[in-house]
């Protein structure tokens, strides 16, 4: 583990040695190392294998784009070596090798490269017989890391945060922006994905200590500023509408809402393209600088620098300063402008070769860089024949150009333009509230970055309501930035290829030429066919080069070619961060504890848990349900119906509101009465049902189905907002508990607990009354869903359990018992009552289910009226009818949704079916064609195995057809 002398801003802690394993061998690194820096310091050059040809790969960017160095770290897959902090005890293996990095058997694929052109998999392997085998092979050799199925569910809490100005990127321009905004009075959050702030200001030095000093001073002031929060190791993952930015750190996702956003995300250095530009030892110049200044690792003993702008010269000076040799500096340009860096290099005696490029790189026995062949290139980038010569080196720095890290700017809807001077896309029109500065904005000189940051920070603060004296309008003239223009053609052709453009996907120059030849000649088609930019780094080091190649091949300018769409995420985000703790709402009625104590077996009803039935030891579920049914029919039962939606509408136009949303009439209801209510959608389809009770002149209390309550409330709220009627809507679903006391003994039992007049004259069927039961304030309705004398009692939720207990106690002598949803389903089926969504479907209108009486077409308006008026004139297509199986039926019993078959065709389906102890037959509801609705009509129901079961249409209710049990004989 060799390290340079202490660097002023190094990230490593030299006192803490970290031990880890890589590919089975033991290594040591230092706290603060990335996995890659520790391995590189230890002399390890082969860090991973590439995706297609399984070539040896090392460090390319050291900036989160080294996707060929993905590691399996226990249950963590696809861990990026270049940015993941080293932890003690890590046991790492490279992903997607067959036999390890050193001896990956899949490297044989490289030998077949000639036979595997771009998109080769579209061109073969598709014989119908063999495709499944080929696909299995493809699936095995693609894919990267391996899942550990024992990984526990990681639940990471999320945070919400707010600020006036969010600055993304804590390099010189971002720091400067944060200070300007905070000085103007704004509360500022500045984030940086790196473990430590400072950005390139602390590692791209070129021997110029002033650059570092500038940055350090900014950083110091930022850290000291009371209105600035600096978040390191935090990546702005995406940009969503209205400055909504997820901030991703190691622990969690913080959802930041900012009044203004400053994007100071810098630029990605772009690899040059030449043969074997992927050998370990060939890396971006900025990667060398990161290794030196962050980790105190000398990238190579003897380096060659391939430059096309001043940054390359800085790299050479930084390498020299760290004690490395620089064998030569090549510059793609024929004429190199004078600069202090150039003078410094000359004075150190470094050979400078202008108008030169790397023709190809050569590997040593381990597959790492051993030397380069350089060549002269002409103005068009063509190799000058016979100019090749070899230089031995174990390091090659590529500093030929940049691409703006504009992903978030694109996501925000920024229009970008290609600047010919800079050879880079820069923001042209920014959306409101979004600002850009620094290299992403085309400013490269340190002074102009700091000035640009100040401008953007002040402008952002002003947008957030904090104007300042700084002139926020003037944009620096970025086209005058002559320091770091990108080279227009950092690409050298080679007859033997292996000149990689996209390292994620192993795409070479000829792959692009071939794709264009095949007609994939616009940027989007080229991306999709060649898969450029579709790998884990999403094209951060390849899209710009691909664009340049496409532009040249099609004779267009980069502006005309355009870019592909940038989408979230900036860097990949773990599912656990996005999922957070996970939220699955579960609702329990206030009576839940009572049910549990009674042995209830719960079922899921939407978000609710409801008692399906109450288990009795030694009895089957069916027996329990039947006993509950028998008790209601013969004596008395109590069911929790608190899951019903419970709404109240109040105000002078409350009746008008209900008239519009339900199909019936509500303005003519008497106070103290209830009315059945049916809701349809615009197309006349039955959407919900319930009971409306008029409790005062301008107050209606009404119920919805349990499953529909949330949807109905949301839709009614929307309509109330839209219609602006003089009434207000309140959702009381959770505020009220409700239970239904039903059975012949219900009135007598209730009478023992209340002094309300329960006589039919005072409290008739379908009436609603307010009063007290056992001292509890109640709203009671006499309704009969289960077909017995009964009271639906609504009480404030906190009284629910008390009232339940008192009713159960009062009913003891009469044989009271609780009944669940299963018993209720059967009881209502005996009465022929439908359940919306079980006995109706997405097309059912009221006329198909015999609810013509509930639809008042003569009202001025209700939702669905227009459709229902038209439907009414059309012939019915089907009708819901009752049916029975023969008394003698033996064998299979149909289930809900089994089909009714006539003449070999589907003519209907069963929607409900159950054995009725009170009828002594299997009874059910079914949709049938209009011609099959007459009682006595024979039906054939086909069950799962194809057997036909005979049945017969009959009238409903199946039980107590005159509803005598619900009312007193008059």
């Amino acid at each position: 583990m060799k390290r340079l002398p202490a660097m002023p801003d190094e990230w490593i802690d030299r006192n803490t040695v970290v031990r880890f394993r890589f590919e089975g061998s033991a290594f040591e690194g230092l706290a603060g190392d990335s996995i890659s820096s520790a391995l590189w310091a230890a002399g390890q050059r082969a860090l991973g294998r590439s995706f297609k040809y399984h070539r040896v790969r090392g460090i390319l960017s050291a900036a989160n784009h080294d996707v060929n160095v993905m590691l399996q770290d226990g249950p963590r897959l696809n861990t990026r070596g270049d940015v993941t902090a080293l932890r003690d005890g890590m046991d790492l293996t490279a992903v997607n090798t067959f036999g390890g990095v050193a001896n990956d058997r899949a490297r044989v694929l490289g030998l077949f490269a000639r036979f595997l052109p771009v998109g080769f998999y579209y061109k073969a392997f598709h014989s119908k017989r063999l495709f499944p085998t080929w696909e299995r092979m493809f699936r095995r050799i693609t894919g990267l890391g391996v899942l550990d199925f024992n990984t526990p569910h990681v639940r990471t809490p999320k945070r919400y945060d707010f600020c006036d100005v969010l600055v993304i990127g804590a390099g010189p321009s971002g720091l400067s922006a944060a200070l300007a905004a905070a000085d103007a009075g704004a509360n500022v959050v500045i984030v940086d994905e790196n473990a430590h702030a400072g950005g390139s200001g602390l590692f791209q030095l070129g021997g110029d200590a002033a650059r570092r000093e500038h940055t350090r001073q900014l950083l110091q002031r930022v850290r000291a500023h009371t209105r600035i929060r600096l978040l390191e190791g935090t990546c702005a993952g995406a940009y969503y509408a209205d400055n909504w930015v997820p901030l991703i750190d190691a622990e969690r996702m913080t959802k930041m809402r900012a009044a203004a956003v400053v994007v100071a995300s810098g630029a990605f250095e772009q690899p040059a393209v030449f043969r074997n530009n992927d050998l370990p030892g060939v890396m971006n110049g900025s990667a060398m600088q990161r290794l030196i200044y962050r980790y105190a690792v000398l990238p190579a003993q003897r380096s060659v620098v391939l430059a096309a702008n001043a940054d390359g010269y800085r790299v050479a000076l930084d390498v020299l300063a760290a004690g490395g040799d620089v064998a030569a500096v090549l510059d793609l340009r024929a004429d190199v402008p004078a600069s202090p860096q150039l003078d410094a290099l000359r004075s150190r005696g470094v050979e400078l070769l202008t108008g030169h490029a790397v023709y190809e790189a050569h590997a040593d026995g381990r597959g790492a860089l051993a030397g380069v062949t350089v060549c002269r290139v002409d103005a068009a980038g063509k190799v000058v024949a016979g100019s090749q010569r070899r230089i031995d080196c174990d390091g090659l720095a590529m500093s030929t150009g940049w691409s703006p890290a504009a992903n978030l700017l694109y996501q925000a809807g920024t229009r970008m333009r290609f600047d010919d001077g800079l050879q880079q896309f820069v923001p042209d029109v920014l959306p409101q509230g979004v600002f850009a500065c620094g290299r992403v904005n085309g400013a490269y000189r340190i002074e102009s970055r700091i000035a640009d940051g100040r401008r953007a920070g002040a402008a952002a603060a002003a947008h957030a309501g904090f104007p300042s004296a700084i002139d926020a309008v003037i944009q620096p003239e970025i086209t005058q930035e002559s320091e770091s223009p990108s080279h227009a053609w950092p690409i050298v052709a080679h007859p033997d290829g292996k000149n990689f453009v996209d390292f994620d996907e192993d795409l070479q120059v000829k792959d692009f030429e071939n794709a264009v030849q095949e007609g994939y000649d616009n940027i989007e088609l080229m991306k999709r066919f060649s898969t450029v930019g579709m790998g884990p780094s999403q094209g951060k080091h390849s899209n710009m080069t691909a664009l340049r190649i496409l532009a040249r091949l099609t004779g267009k300018s980069p502006q005309q070619v355009g870019t592909t769409t940038a989408r979230p995420f900036f860097h990949p985000v773990p599912l656990s961060h996005l999922a957070g703790r996970g939220f699955s709402p579960q609702r329990q009625s206030p009576l839940h504890g009572r049910h549990a104590r009674l042995g209830a077996v719960f079922m899921q009803a939407g978000a609710w848990e409801r008692p399906a039935y109450y288990a009795v030891e030694g009895r089957t579920a069916t027996d329990c349900v039947r006993a509950e049914v028998a008790r209601v029919r013969s004596a008395i039962g109590l069911i929790d119906v608190g899951t019903l939606g419970k709404l109240e509408v109040r105000g002078p136009q409350a009746a008008e509101f209900l008239n519009r949303v339900y199909t019936g009439r509500y303005d003519n209801m008497k106070v103290g009465s209830t009315r059945y209510a049916v809701m349809c959608d615009e197309s006349g389809v039955l959407a919900d049902e319930g009971v409306v009770a008029r409790v005062a002149d301008d107050v209606f209390y009404f119920t919805t189905t349990s499953s529909g309550s949330a949807t109905v409330y949301r839709e009614l709220s929307r309509l109330n907002t839209e219609w602006r009627l003089d009434c207000g809507l309140v959702n009381l679903t959770g505020a009220y508990s409700a239970m239904n006391l039903a059975g012949p003994a219900s009135r007598a039992v209730l009478a023992t607990l209340t002094d309300m007049d329960l006589s039919s004259a005072a409290f008739p069927y379908l009436a609603v009354r307010s009063g007290h039961v056992a001292g509890v304030p109640v709203r009671m309705m006499r309704v009969g869903f289960v077909g017995e004398w009964g009271y639906e009692i609504h009480v404030p939720a906190e009284y629910g359990p008390v009232l339940w207990d008192l009713l159960m106690k009062a009913g003891e002598a009469s044989g009271i018992g609780a009944f669940g949803v299963e018993a209720q389903r059967l009881l209502r089926l005996e009465k022929g009552h439908l359940i919306v969504s079980q006995d109706t479907d997405g097309l059912t209108h009221p006329f198909e289910v015999g609810m013509d009486w509930a639809v008042k077409l003569d009202k001025p308006f209700f939702t669905g009226q227009r459709s229902l008026k038209i439907i009414k004139k059309l012939p019915l297509k089907r009708k819901l009818v009752g049916f029975m199986l023969p008394a003698s039926h033996m064998g299979q019993v149909p289930q809900e949704c089994h089909l009714i078959i006539d003449g070999g065709d589907i003519v209907g389906r069963v929607t409900s079916i159950s054995w009725s102890p009170n009828v002594g037959r299997h009874i059910g509801l079914a949709f049938v064609p209009p011609e099959m609705t007459a009682p006595g009509t024979a039906l054939s129901i086909r069950v799962t195995d194809g057997t036909m079961v005979p049945a017969e249409v009959c009238t409903t209710p199946f039980f107590d057809p005159t509803d005598a049990r619900q009312k007193e004989a008059t």
Partner: protein
Amino acid sequence: MPWRLLRFGLSKSHPEPRMFTTHDTLKPSYDVVIIGGGGHGLASAYYLARDHGITNVAVLEKGYIGGGNTGRNTTIIRSNYLTPEGVKFYDKSVQLWQDLSTEFDLNLFFSTRGHFTLAHTDSAMRTMRWRAEVNKHYGIASEVVGPEDVKRATPQMDLSCGGHAPIQGALYHAPGAVARHDAVAWGYGRGADMRGAEIHQQTAVTGIEVKGGKVVGVHTTRGFIATSKVICAVAGFTPRITDMVGIKTPIYIHPLQAMVSEPMKPWLDSILVSGSLHIYVSQSSRGELVMGASLDPYEVQSTRSTLDFPEGLSAHLLDMFPFLSHVKVVRQWAGMADMTPDFAPIMGMTPIEGFYLDSGWGTWGFKATPVCGKTMAWTVANDKPHELITGFSLDRFRNYALTGEKGAASVGH
């Protein structure tokens, strides 16, 4: 290694011709103009040429081919729908899919994986039974299976889904498949191009000329074209085209989003869908998990992404597969879905003579690409609706003869 790749290694130059001819100019007139160079439009051009010999056809695409919902969907192919009309139609599509790679000589990675629609409630089980019974009636492999069968296909799944949505069973559809979506557009495009149809990319339609209730031509950004027949196959842009001819449809636009993970070694063979958890997921041949959820709940014509989408989807995915916690999401995106009130498409003739709709494709259009092309071509060639699409006509909304597919389409796509 397949022998057919040898020619690439043995030839000095890349031995592949252009897939599509570039046409510098538009002709003054075409027999048929197809608006929209997605899978549907290109398939229509392909079958017009192949089945009906109609080759004087222009496909107009304002962007690039396959760049709309063809390239944005999650590539699920199935036929286990709910209505007889739907089942027969999608079944024909699945049959056509089987042979497309061979027919195009282009590997579409059409991969039959088996499709499970998970049921977490007894009401969902009822819907599954309904679908299974209708499917079987029309000869579709479709059956209700129990939790143990789900477990057998995907042993790693937490069948209790985090304890709050236990799986009761599933609808299993063995023919369920996935395919490489972009290649479908390229295959149809190349096939149409080879047979004489013209594909014009970067050509937007700006107006449609109608005289006396008949289509007479199309205005484009590259000039006017005379034609008497126009097919509108533009996915989320249908209302903008129907406005040009002055007809109304009940189509409204909602975004539908999707996302994809980093690649991992294969573990998930089946396609899994859960309506209750609003999720569907499959693993691509590259090893990525391709995931989607339900429609965005509001009407908007935009393909922007939202944060709620990956948040909700991830939470539900981890309920089913907690061990995916460390897997990273690389990318999310959105498409615009032409939604109809009954979740069935709108296809065929319209009140404007010569104006044909292939629309209302909501979230279920990719799987129908072959059968849409085939039936639309037949409909245009014969000027009457193909028998498989009579249930999808625009006038069903006037007649209230809806084709209710919501139970089979709303999350299953």
